[in-house]
Symmetry: C2
Amino acid sequence: MTTTTTAALGTRDRLISTASRLMQHGGYESTPIKQLVKEAGATMGSLYHFFPGGKQELAVAAIAYGDEEFAELLRTGLALHADPAEAVGALTELLAEALEESMWRDGCPVTATALESVGRMPEVQAACAAAYANWERLVEEKLLACGLSEEDSRDLAMTVLNTLGGAETAAQVGQSRTPLLVAGRHLSRLIASYVPASD
Amino acid sequence: MTTTTTAALGTRDRLISTASRLMQHGGYESTPIKQLVKEAGATMGSLYHFFPGGKQELAVAAIAYGDEEFAELLRTGLALHADPAEAVGALTELLAEALEESMWRDGCPVTATALESVGRMPEVQAACAAAYANWERLVEEKLLACGLSEEDSRDLAMTVLNTLGGAETAAQVGQSRTPLLVAGRHLSRLIASYVPASD
């Protein structure tokens, strides 16, 4: 029984991680379900066993998976410096490096799917909104811990995430680190203008 | 002959504007070619008459169309104030209003398609890159005219566009003006920090 359960979990996990990667690369509609199932080494039967709601239900799980993966990258980047302005600068360098290493494919795991979901797939849209909120909270906590006000921390976290998201897209389309590195410098400058002077 | 030509141009233009709108809403793959042709009041025959390369060739023309439409919105927003920091703030309010009026559907005309195109459709990707470059030049020219250095103007224009792009996505997904309005305040503050003091 244990072996069966482990094997079953293995298939479910492979479906989720494969869906996450394919959706990161081209969004939900660009990902044919048959190709996804094949790349995950699964069957259509196992897909509907684990996800009775089919592709949309799998997409929601895949977004939660991408959410956590990107959150881990954010945590790593934000921990590189105690100073929040320097940390966000270092984070953008980390993102630029990871993006170039992936041949400009591994950008934000949810942007493409998020845009497709607006007004069409409410559960997928909600999962994307939850991912953004989760990432914003990580930046917000870093800023709060550095002495910024609650309002400034919340607002800056929003702009940091949105600027990184837009710069990732531009870096992918232009196959260049520049949009991210420039965004990093500007976000650092912006955050520094809010950091309370230390005594 | 004139009537025929006008009617022919009419079909071509309808194919392009319909493709632009559908791609703005969900990207390239979410737009089934048969639905597109039907919504444009055209036929598959006329599609291949005007665009022998089919959907991808039409997509390139649609991106150029969306490029010019969004450029017009940028020009309007940037002209609202002489001061570049105030102008970018006013531009984000304009974008937020247009986005809410469209039920959060009419975001950036190319982001969804751009992400799908990376490493898959070089000509579509190049058209998206050209649109970003065109929009950046409009912001850059405004900043240059206000006395910022060439380097600052180029870099700030890049971040303004990328921040607006990311904030548009977040506004659409969260169905809220806030990401754009907050981005507007932060971009204004950032730009103001580069504006040379007037004598």
